[in-house]
Symmetry: C2
Amino acid sequence: MNVVEKYGGTSVATIDNIKKIAKHVADVKKRGDNIIVVASAMGKTTNKLIEMAKEIGNTKNSREMDSLLSTGEQRTITLLAMAIETYGVKAISLTGFQAGFVTSNHHAHAYIKDINDRKIKKYIKEGYVVVVAGFQGATENGEITTLGRGGSDTTAVALAAKLHYDCYIYTDVNGVYTCDPRIYPKAKKLKEVTYMEMMQMAILGSGVLETRSVELASKYNVKLYLGRSLNEDFSKGTYIMKQTKNLEDMPITGISIKDDYAILRVTNIKNDGIFLSKLFNLIAKLNINLDTISQQLNDDGTVNFTFYCNKAQSDEILDNAKELECEYPIKRMLGFVKLSLVGVGISTHSGIAAKVLNTLNMNNIRYYQITSSEISISLTIDEANKKVAVEKLCEVFDL
Amino acid sequence: MNVVEKYGGTSVATIDNIKKIAKHVADVKKRGDNIIVVASAMGKTTNKLIEMAKEIGNTKNSREMDSLLSTGEQRTITLLAMAIETYGVKAISLTGFQAGFVTSNHHAHAYIKDINDRKIKKYIKEGYVVVVAGFQGATENGEITTLGRGGSDTTAVALAAKLHYDCYIYTDVNGVYTCDPRIYPKAKKLKEVTYMEMMQMAILGSGVLETRSVELASKYNVKLYLGRSLNEDFSKGTYIMKQTKNLEDMPITGISIKDDYAILRVTNIKNDGIFLSKLFNLIAKLNINLDTISQQLNDDGTVNFTFYCNKAQSDEILDNAKELECEYPIKRMLGFVKLSLVGVGISTHSGIAAKVLNTLNMNNIRYYQITSSEISISLTIDEANKKVAVEKLCEVFDL
């Protein structure tokens, strides 16, 4: 078997953890498998480095920040490679650059253009465990870049895609649940989930995997596994794949929750498109993806415009609102959450939306907005109703 | 003026120090000078990383160790570049690899084959302060290497040599003294010293600069300055140059002291060269440079062989002595120091050796070995006599 194993920051937080992972990796190698390990920076290293840059008083130079942050993973991989060697297995560390990750020059959120896998293949052939730094790459010009949020997952999936390996993501959760167990303790762990569902859940806030890595896995049909670090029993985590066996059984696979939701409203705008065009330019400049936008026409010909984002994004928009140079005030309401029900069964099971709304009505839960796609239904509700809404919906859909 | 400024670990130990250095560098740049800064890892970072590798239980993989240690300087240079920017001056960090330091593949003690200075020159031309990671480079194959002890000084001098810049080494001492002020508080600071003298002092244990960087400065005639970090008054440190103005005045420029000296003796060896050849092979294998070796012929045709090294090296030799497969035991005596008087005047002033030995005799100080070169005289004495010997010699030679 050929595997890429990815270990996140919590998994490699201490020297002891690194030793344990090294032992596991050496065992896998001794079994005869080819194995590539992708590792993140130890524990809170990245945050500490950001703190140092803040003390310096300059975090805006994303080229320097990338070079600074990349040292975190570089330390982990060298220590991990040396630890693996102590178990009698050859190991070699490769930084993003050394591993051949050629990226765009978008510092702090570069995308992978290609992987020159010559070096990795050579070392694998020579019997090495190859330990690759997650989250990083370099431009053709040798400038160090980082891949942004969830970057180490992306590194792992990209390698698996390029080399046709399976990809095991080890993290501090032991799989994908129908719902966050901290909110609904009776949530069930899913044995399997489709790429589509996982992507929707990622987009809609499940927080387990970033959309980008799932998207990449889906595109190249990489068999993904998500489980807790060093949990030897692989059947205990969640496999993410093209089609699950129980495709037709459950209309809803899980519920994702996005907290700290804000509703922004601008009312009675002249319907000439000028304001909206300014607003969208600003939002693009701030690099914010609005996830829901709606517009209603009033009787007098003006329009009301409503959009939804998280609180931090709404802060940014309001901080920069003066750039819009317009007379319409942006009103903000806080204290909402967005619930999203995800499942490939939504398109084939009728009456799902009705069942959702009935459940909310029966429990006197007000909703502010509802959107749906072929595999998801999302609603914004008051934060105070979150717990009840999640419980009732989980019960109704047997999650 | 074009300068390379090098800041050692103590100078960049804290964020506050980095900010202060950044301010100074920005001021130099604003004056219109071209400036390249070479920085070491912050404070005890390198030691901490070595400790981590020890905890892992594997420090022997010098390739991985090099990659691990190189992260130390990389962090300093990014923070320093960002700090310089806060003072309104453009700055850019370059790792050893990015700066074009092409080295041999001798991990842990690589030598610089060449500097591809295209990038540095480009950034200097564009008005940047270029901040280069000391101590590191990369092979043609992109493997990260380090330059060994005093490597950051070597980085700085090599850059100065390549670009014809002056080189300012900032450290935690404020110049070169005639003798270690901790041992002889009345020691004088030298305003100027020649490359030759500085090299001898470095070889003989002055500890201020590594031989290698002085050698490089001498070879390329780089004007070197040594002083305390952020001491704005440049006249206060020591300039190291080809010829000093007061070349003929002082026969002795300074005294270097090597502590923890061991004498190893093997007696009554059959004079067929077999044992010595084995011994030298072992010493070469252990990468030890013996600094003094002597052999005496006995009346019975056998020889006595005496050599000198520091205690740690003698430990290594004794630990590996069984490899010699011979019947002669190696006897070790500990508790010595080696004093070396250095000065280009030694070759031109007669009677220096006599004056040295008279001073020792008059003070009842026994010496075990004496060697001399054109610019130095070295003697091994009992550790107990160190203080008195240093004081008396400093007085006699007005140091």
